[in-house]
């Protein structure tokens, strides 16, 4: 059972990342829960959602100590640095956040998502880049499954937009995989 929190400001596509991931995992045949923050929190301020993916029945959809976090703003980074499991991985958008972790028992995955997005020519792909990096690194689902869930979620979207999203996913995935290769070299 793996618990992931996606967090950031409202409007950064945080809930969409979690949702696409949850649908993809469901299509893979996994047990899954998706729990968004709700109510007053949702309007303005920070948004977050928790996705639990498991081969067995999921009990609590809440992540008191997540295995992974995907972080799009600084307040969330501070919050989840305290909560994440020892050995867990924090994925964060290093284009937006300048921060040094205090904890040394977690893995930090810095993704310069806005810079990559600018290369792609669309800042709107930032969340797809983050998601691509997350999926490639964790292997909790595949990029294909994410694309399938995206196709289903945004029915009728232009193929150009879909292509752009696909590129975003690939670039994000490529970034962490290249890092991985460099480490192995």
């Amino acid at each position: 059972m793996k618990k992931t929190v996606f967090a950031g400001f409202g409007g950064q596509g945080v809930l969409m990342m979690g949702y696409l991931f949850a649908v993809a995992a469901m299509k893979d045949g996994k047990e899954v829960t998706y729990l968004p923050s709700y109510g007053a929190e949702m309007r303005g301020g920070t948004a977050n959602c928790t996705v639990v993916v498991s081969d067995e029945e999921i009990f609590s959809p809440v992540a008191s100590s997540p295995d992974y976090t995907v972080i799009m703003n600084k307040p969330s980074l501070i919050k989840y640095e305290n909560l994440i499991k020892a050995g867990g991985t924090i994925f964060f958008n290093s284009s937006l956040i300048d921060y040094h972790l205090i904890r040394d028992d977690v893995v930090l995955e810095k993704i310069p998502a806005n810079e990559i997005a600018r290369q792609l020519g669309s800042e709107r792909t930032v969340n797809m880049i983050m998601l691509g990096a997350f999926v490639a690194k964790t292997g909790l689902t595949s990029l294909e499954s994410i694309m399938n869930s995206l196709q289903e979620t945004v029915k009728g979207k232009k193929t150009a937009v879909m292509k752009l999203n696909r590129k975003g996913l690939d670039m994000g995935a490529g970034f962490v995989l290249k890092e991985l290769r460099n480490e192995n070299d």
């Binding site: 899954v32 829960t33 998706y34 729990l35 959809p61």
Partner: protein, 359 residues
């Protein structure tokens, strides 16, 4: 369309309601359940034979449901705790006038305005009638998204079958959470059995009255006994609970809804370290599944009731088990959702007071 889909709890209730032939919904905005109202607005707009009304108040909404039910429709309203307090007048009338209706309560922190976090503070209100007078309300408490669908379908069936209001008790977490769900087949409301009491104009038959005022005390007493007999019948027919790992258990946790999921997670943890602990999860809160408790108490003598309040269902457990078992209580009110670890600690400390690991 019977594939697994990932859907928000409130939307699952709404979709299942429409698929169960619900053709009337009236509601009023209150968090955390607005997504149900919004879903019904959209879903009913797609139907030719349905009505959605955003009412001027919770009171108006439940009274519109009374009217739609009188007219024979499967009708629903929903709200969250403070709004349910306002609806109680109408729920009392629904019970007295023997009208079917489904009411969804997405419980929030309280008393008063409280907060919008998940709690179980409305157990007494839901299971003891809630409004004025000597009546009961069938109360169903799902814990999983698939159950939201299954229970919503059953709620409409029970409401029609027993001509009485049925409450679905959830909280904001269940309403917001998405889990895969497979929906039941849609029902065409025209194919439902005709109701013999509907007010649709006295054409070719004597005129009908649906009322609750019975000034003659003898007749009012008889009406109350009639309701009582119906409730006794419901008690026989509806007793729903899930038992999990109770066969060899030395301690059984009793919890419903969100609390039961947390408890299950805790039980998984303590089982891993060898503690023989199980779960009894009521799905029907009224009628309370006393038979299932009775059966369980034959071989388990220690229970822990865990609720997201300061202790409400525990009174029903005490009534059901009388003095035959030891009953502990653990609760967190105000919107705190305990972690499975927290509950596991409570279980463990209770367990070791009496049992050794090797027992």
């Amino acid at each position: 369309m019977n594939d697994k889909v990932l859907m928000r709890g409130t939307h699952i209730i709404g979709e299942t309601a429409v698929r169960s032939g619900c053709r009337f919904y009236a509601g009023y905005p209150i968090t955390p359940q607005n997504e149900l109202t919004e879903y019904m607005a959209g879903a009913i707009a797609k139907l030719k034979d349905g009505t959605f009304i955003q009412a001027e108040s919770e009171i108006a909404a439940v009274n519109m449901v009374i009217g739609a039910s009188m007219a024979g429709a499967r009708a629903m309203t929903s709200s969250s705790s403070p709004g349910i307090s306002l609806k109680q007048e109408g729920i009392s009338f629904l019970a007295a006038q023997e009208l079917p209706a489904v009411i969804v309560n997405s419980m929030r922190g309280g008393p008063g305005l409280g907060n919008i976090a998940p709690t179980q503070g409305d157990y007494f209100q839901a299971t003891r009638g809630g409004g004025h007078g000597d009546y009961r309300c069938i109360v169903l408490a799902p814990a999983y998204s698939q159950e939201l669908a299954d229970i919503t379908r059953r709620a409409f069936e029970y409401a029609d079958r027993f001509t009485t209001p049925v409450m679905i008790l959830i909280d904001g977490m269940m309403g917001q959470m998405m889990e895969p769900v497979v929906f039941p087949e849609p029902i065409d409301p025209r194919e439902l059995p005709p109701k013999s009491w509907v007010l649709d104009g006295a054409k070719g038959r004597p005129s009908r009255i649906i009322k609750s005022l019975i000034l003659d005390v003898v007749k009012e007493e008889e009406h109350n006994w009639k309701l009582y007999r119906k409730y006794e019948n419901i008690k026989k027919e509806i007793q729903e609970a899930e038992t999990y790992l109770t066969e060899d258990a030395k301690l059984v946790v009793i919890a419903y809804g969100t609390a039961a999921r947390i408890a299950k997670g805790a039980i998984k943890r303590v089982r891993d370290i060898g503690l023989k602990v199980g779960l009894l999860r009521p799905l029907s809160l009224w009628p309370f599944p006393r038979r299932i408790l009775d059966d369980t108490s034959r071989f388990v003598k220690e229970f822990l009731v865990y609720e997201m309040n300061t202790g409400q269902m525990v009174e029903d457990v005490e009534l059901a088990l009388k003095r035959s078992s030891e009953i502990h209580f653990y609760g967190r009110p105000g919107g705190i959702v305990s972690t499975p670890d927290e509950i596991a600690k409570v279980i463990t400390s209770l367990y070791y007071r009496r049992h050794l690991e090797e027992d």
